[in-house]
Every structure is written in C-alpha cells, then in structure tokens.
Symmetry: C2
Subunit: 501 residues, 2 copies
C-alpha cells in the first residue's frame, strides 16, 4: 500500500504527505482513482474524516480532482508552473538567510532562571508567584462576567481603557504617592512589555544602559536583545551607588528602588534624590520597576522615585498586576514623563494595538468595587505571617549558616551563605532537590562573578506550616551538605537550576 | 492664602504643588504649622481626604512632618542632598537626549487611516469592524465565565495555551488547508504583534521588504518603524506580480494573497507557486497575512500559501480573530517555518511573556464547543446578504460612476471612480460627510501617487436596509458632486479622513 504512516505529525499530515509523494513520484499515475475514503480509512484504522481532509488538501494543491458521485482521482497533469512536482522530490531549499541581529542576540541569551512549577518538589521556595487567594479569584470571576457584558466590540484605545487608567491613577497616588492624571497612565501587557516599549523608543543598538547587578533577568535580557550595552552599577544596603554612575554616555538607568531584585535592598531617600539629580544633569532616562512595592511590613513606604518632584521629568514608573493579583493576567502600566507619553502610545499601537478590553474592564471593576483593596489587605496580613514563619524557621534551623539581611518588603528574602563556596552551594541545591525541597541560588541573577553566595527564599506560595517544615528540611540539608565531602555532581547538572530539573 | 488652585491637574496635585512651592520658596517657614485639614478643605471647597493626601505626599517628600494629635508642620530643615529645594525653583533640566531612531521614525509616520467610529454619521461605510452577532456575544460571555473558573494562576506558556493551539491547528486545517501541528502554532496578540515579532527576528535596520502598494497601512508602518526599507511591488487582478520582485536583497515579502488589502484581488494558484519558488530561490521569507480569508462567497477558496508544499519552509501564516470575532479580543496566531519557531517564541517571551490566559482559554472553549463554527456560518450568510445589498445598491444608484471589480471574499469591496480626479473625490467625501454618509477613499492606502481613484465600501456593520439607504444617499452625493463646480475645501480638511472629523 502506498500510504505509510510514519508516526511523525498528525495522521492527516502523514496521509497527505504519503499520497503527495506517491503522486509526485509517479507511483500513482495521472487519472488513477484514489481509494474510496471509507476503504482507506478502514485500512489505516483512522476516521473517515481524516481521509476526506487529506483528499481535500490534495485537491486544493491541484494534485487530485474530486468528481461528484465518482470519487477522487490523481490530476491529469501537474500544472507547468510548478516544475519540481513532476521531477521527483523538491530541490533542497536555498540556504536560509541569516535571522536578524536581534534574533542572533536572542539565541545567545542564557536560559531563563525563573522556572515553572516543579511538581515533584514537596516544598518549592522559588520566587515569582503571588499568594493564591480564593476570595480574590471569585471576585475576579464576577468582575470578568460583568466586563464581558459591557465589553466593547471594537478596538480598545491603544493607551488603555479609561476606567482602568482612572482606577490606576487613583491607586498609585494612594499607595505609592505617585501623583498623575489618568491620561499619563499607559496600559501595557506587563513589566516585560513596558521595558521593551521604553527601550524601543529610547535606545538605539549599542546605547548604554545602567543596570543593577544582580538584577531582574527578564528586564535585562529584553535590553540585551534590543542591542543595549549594559553598564553594571554597584549598590549597597541603601540601593544603587549613584556616585558610581558614569557621567556621560548612559541613556537609561533601570532600577528597582522599592525592593531591589533580588537582594531586597531599599533605596534611601537621599540616594533617590541623588539619582534624579544625576538624571537631570546628564539627560538620562530612569525606569523605575516597582514590581512588588505594594507589600511592605515596616510602616511608611518611601515615595516612589516618580513621586519626587524631578521624577515627573525623568522617571518612567512601571507597575504590574502579576505580583499583586496573578501573572496569568497580562496587565501592567507605565507612568512616563509627558515628553515620552505619545511615543510610548504610538509604539504600543504598532506593537499590538492595545490590551484585551475584557481583561482591562474586569480589572477596573475589581479596583472600583473595593475587592482589589480588600485583597491587598488580606494578602499583606497573610504574607506577614508567612514571612515571620520563614524568618523564624531560618533562625531556628539554619542560623549557623544563613544570614538574612531583611528588607521588609515584597515576597521573598535572601539568605546569604557567607561561609559557603559556590560548588558547595550547588551541592546543597542538588541534595535539597533530591529530598523534595526546591532551593534557588542567587548566583544566576548575577551577570558576572558572584561576590557572595546566597539563596532566594520565596514565601508567597507556601503556608505558615509548610514554611516551618521547609526550613526544618533546609536545616537538615545544610547540616548534611556541610558535613559531607561529596564531590559536586557532574557539570551537566551542576548549574544551579538545572540541578533540580 | 498660599494655596492656589490653577485648575491644571487633579485637585490633589494642584494643592501639593502649591504647598511645595510655598515651602521651597520660604513663604512657609521651617516648623510652621500647615492649616488643619478640615479648615483648608473648607476654604478650598474640596474634600478633606484630598487635603490629607496632599499632606501625606509632602511628608513622604520630607518637606513636612506629621505629629500625631498636633497636626502637620513644615520640616525643620530640608535634607542637604537636595540643594535645589532650598535655593528656590529647580534648575531647568538638561536638554533631553534624543529619543531612539525607532521613536523618530514613529513620529514621522502618517496618522492612522482607519479611524474609530464617528457617531455623527448616519451610515459609515468604513472598513475594519466585523459583524456584530448577539448570539456570538452571549456564547463568548459563557465561555469567558467558564475559562475564568479554570484559569491558571501562574504565567501562561509563552507559545500560548495548548488547548487554543490545538483548536487553531484543527481550524486552519479545515478552513484554510494549512496542515500543521499544534506545536507549530504560536499565539500572539493579533496581526500587529505577529508582524512586529517576525520583523524583529528577521530584519535589521535598513533591510528591504517587498510589500504590496496599496497595502495594509498598520503592517507597513510596523515595518517602517522597525527601520525596513520598503520595495513596492505591483500587482494585478491575479495578485502580486512575482516576476517584478527583485532577485536579490529582499529578505521579506509581505502579502495578503486570499484577499488583497485594500483592492480585494485574490492571488492565483500559479502566482502563489511562483512566489514560493522565488522565495526558495532567493532565500527570502514570506509573511502571509490572511486577515479575512475566512469569508468567501464563491465556492472553494484557494489553499493558503502556507498550505502549499514549499510553504512549510518559507511562509509564516498570520491569522487573527479581530475580523471573525471582534477586535477587542487581542488574539491572533502565527504558523511559521520550523526554523523560525523558537526565535518567534523567544521574542514573544521577552516582549510580554505570553497572552492573557483567560482570553485564550475562553476562545479555545468557544472553538471546541462548536459555537465559533456556528457563528462563522451565520456570519457568512448575513455577510453574503449585505454584500448583495451593497452591490445591488451600487448598481442601481452609482452605476454611472462606480466600477466594482468584485473579489468574492472578505468584508469590503472597492468601487473605482475611473472618471474622477483626486480633488473631485475629496469633494465627494466631504459632501457625503455633511449629509451623514461616511465614505473612505482608497488614496491613503497608497504610499505613492494613486494610479486610480476609488472608495472602500465596508459592509459588515450596516444592515441590508441601511446599505440600501446608504447607496441611495451615495448616488445623490455622486450626482451633486459631479455636477457642482465647487472648489475643493481648504487644505486643512481636504485630507480624505480629516474631512469627516
């Protein structure tokens, strides 16, 4: 039989490919009848519809002709405009053009550090996912239902739905001290898009951008892919060392002042002011990524950079709902200097014409109804409890090894391991994974050599009890890993995160 | 009183700005008490909360200090790290750096041709919005509700939700003859994003792209903003004239073979094959924008370019749900050659980490349940009726002036005006707008001189009856505009679309 199923691709693709080859090679000659669809389906053990679809495809390619009431036949002659069909298999395609420099840079980027859930782990202390709140989810479903009823059927405004921009302007004024008009708020699909769009309107290939090291990998990668040259700036417990910023040639400065990622440092007000003065004096643009500034555990938060006076001229404030709601909702926002607003909206328009209306309207509804604020309050209480449980567990079980410089904000803390060399930390991560505990080294967040070893402890997705158990297990792993003289596992699995795959 | 409301910005911004100026200038001296919030609120006629927020902002900026039970006071001393605060108004900011070349190109682009709805028009024959179908909307709301129940709380896969990719693979095989695996389908936020991402991974600044002229403005603008040099390729009733394509130096060819936008030409199978041969021989990439290929009114559609054998190597097939469902849903898809798939997904990951989960799952549900197919059948029947009414009306009322070369697909037809010079068409559009009829010249869709004058008639959003009345009104306008010796309106309002603002 000329139809052979090679198992590679859906059935209909296999059947079409096989018949096409038979026709082109002459095995099935012009005018020959193809088997009845029922017969072939029975022979191959597939549904008749599958065979019908394959035949239709061959007819569409003019390799076969369907005659009503008679069946399907191999076409009498193959059209002369396609000579390769009559001369056996198609010639090898011309060598592919290279992809763009952008794609080449994409290919050169390291694999993402923050991975998806790993179900084999009992306790995964990874960072990146927010608290799951069933009350929030049910409010969200209600809001979505209502939004679907009121949803416009035509294109959303590129800048974002007015109701959502109003709700966000009110929210960031209240929570982050950022004074702005709803017209200054541009809705985007999340932090990634905010940074990509800003980079696109502000940077040319080869331009220099000052970034924190260690820093948030995804933002940095977006800049690298765009062709920016990165300038690593040191920071200490008070945030970015502004005096270390180059005085010339830096067009953009990307910072996480509310809660430095990943170390947790909070930038002091003095440094914030110095940074804005630097930006004013050098004419550079500041991107303030406020990815989880909503959660603080020590009284008054510092005002956002954008909330300071010079911020209005220099700072693009980037907020996201991934961390306060859930990351499946692809919505974030940018409040940028007036001088950049129209460029940002134009870039958004060309990129995707605006975000999904229904998601935007549902979020606006959630914010207007107060359900969002209630969630933030509940989440803050619960995160505070979990954080206390984590810190207590670390003190009790890991005190001899782990030094926590607490940052009082966000959804993770860093536990430094001052006495541990890099290969020993890798062994620890490996050992913990074997015992069902997901540990995450800070090392991959550094772009160059890691000056200090440490672990990132995300605590948003584990309960108080789980955090107790997880830290106890951590204590045992620390003990065993520090005692054993075990050689680090072979190179292929050493690499921090890979060790847990 | 030192608080002056200048009316420029929200009340709280005005109050904060005014107080800040008074503190910085010394009008309010260190240690001075700010008025009680109630008093100031009453004086200004604003809510007390507004004043409280302004005071909080000043405290956050460390210009004021709140003392529990006593009130709010001007800070004793302004921090020395911010010298400009004590020395009167801030210095003028350094001259802003130029924006990127990308932003400069964005600014140079012409304003969008396709505008939003213009409520003052009784009949707007603009193109771009789909049929409104109440049955579809209610299925959509049900699907959304269900999706919200099942929605994942973590990040969606960058390539798109598996259920949606499966549903699309099945759909494009059945309707467009495109054979592919669900893993070849990449979910994007619509045609705009598809073209931007493909351009980013395939083109460097200055690379040449062959495009149709006239063509779909938004896609072309996305390419221009990215820095591509456009090569206009002529086409006739059989589609792109492949023989006119340059043999070297073109990396990408952007085409709308199913239904050329805006002329409606359908590319013949012979030309499709020739195009693929050309792409193979020259190593160029083809983007097939199948923006409304779903609706055809004359029997068998031709297979998509991607459905032809060489298509798998060379063609990125771009589909959208804006035209078959509604444009507020920002979802589309790309089926690209295997060689490009991972680059495309990586670019999507960096750009926005994937599309909204709930929208994707709701659409998958709509497709799986059969509601989507039922909508397509209903829409095809209704569009066929509307199209017939439009063509009939044009024959009866505009026969002497308008020549329709019908294309049997999509949601619009072009009526050519062979005897009308450009300025006369502008007067016609102007006159029609005054009488409540929205007409849309084809001229702005040409990038260079317009070889022939014509009007785009969108018929998806007008009922059979409305189309009858609209064409009758068109007939009257044609008569009057062709009779009158009216001078074209002044330049500021001549420009086709502006005439209707």
């Amino acid at each position: 039989m000329f139809v052979e199923l090679d198992g590679d691709a859906p059935l209909v693709v296999q059947i079409t490919r096989s018949l096409r080859a038979a026709i082109v090679s002459g095995t099935l000659r012009p005018g020959a009848a193809l088997p009845a669809t029922r017969t072939l389906a029975a022979e191959l053990g597939v549904s008749r519809n599958t065979v019908v679809t394959a035949y239709e495809q061959l007819c569409a390619e003019q390799l076969a002709v369907a005659e009503v009431g008679r069946g399907t036949f191999v076409a009498a002659a193959v059209t002369p405009s396609s000579p390769q069909r009559t001369e056996g298999p198609a010639p090898a395609p011309a060598p592919l053009h290279e992809v763009s420099r952008y794609a080449a840079r994409l290919r050169a980027l390291p694999a993402p550090v923050l991975r998806g859930p790993q179900p084999q782990l009992r306790y995964d202390m990874r960072y990146g996912e927010p608290l799951v709140d069933p009350l929030l989810m049910s409010s969200w479903r209600r809001a979505l239902g209502q939004a679907a009823m009121n949803c416009r059927e035509n294109y959303p405004p590129c800048i974002g739905e007015a109701a959502l921009r109003r709700a966000i302007a009110e929210y960031i004024l209240r929570r982050r001290g950022v004074l702005c008009d709803a017209d200054d708020v541009v809705i985007v699909s999340g932090t990634h898009q905010a940074i990509c769009l800003l980079a696109r309107i502000l940077l040319d290939e080869g331009d220099r951008v000052a970034v924190e090291n260690p820093g948030y990998e995804a933002s940095v990668q977006a800049l690298q892919a765009g062709g920016a040259r990165l300038v690593d700036v040191p920071f200490d417990a008070h945030g970015l060392e502004v005096s270390a910023l180059p005085r010339t040639g830096v067009r953009m400065i990307l910072v996480t002042p509310s809660h430095q990622f990943p170390t947790g440092a909070v930038m002091s007000l003095e440094r914030r002011r110095a940074l804005l003065e630097h930006a004013d004096a050098t004419g550079s643009w500041v991107i303030e990524d406020d990815y989880d500034g909503e959660f603080r555990y020590d009284g008054t938060p510092l005002p956002a950079l954008r909330a300071l006076e010079a911020g209005e001229r220099r700072v693009s404030y980037v907020g996201t709902f991934s961390k306060v709601l859930f990351p499946g909702l692809r919505l974030g926002y940018v409040v940028c200097p007036r001088a950049l607003r129209d460029d940002l909206v134009a870039a958004k328009r060309l990129d995707d014409r605006g975000c999904s209306s229904v998601d935007q309207l549902a979020l606006a509804q959630l914010m207007e109804s107060g359900a969002f604020d209630r969630h933030l309050r509940r989440a803050a209480v619960e995160l505070r409890r979990r954080r206390a449980s984590l810190l207590d567990g670390l003190r009790r079980h890991a005190g001899g090894h782990v030094v926590v410089l607490d940052s009082c904000a966000g959804m993770h803390v860093v536990g430094w391991l001052p006495a541990w060399p890099a290969d020993r930390v890798r062994s620890l991560v490996h050992l913990a994974a074997e015992r069902g505990l997901g540990l995450h080294s800070i090392a991959p967040h550094y772009r160059r050599a890691t000056p200090a070893q440490g672990l990132l402890f995300g605590y948003a997705t584990l309960s108080v009890k789980q955090l107790g158990a997880a830290t106890a297990l951590l204590g045992a792993c620390l003990r065993d890993a520090s005692r054993s003289r075990a050689i680090a596992p072979p190179l292929a699995v050493i690499d921090d995160e890979d060790a847990m795959a």
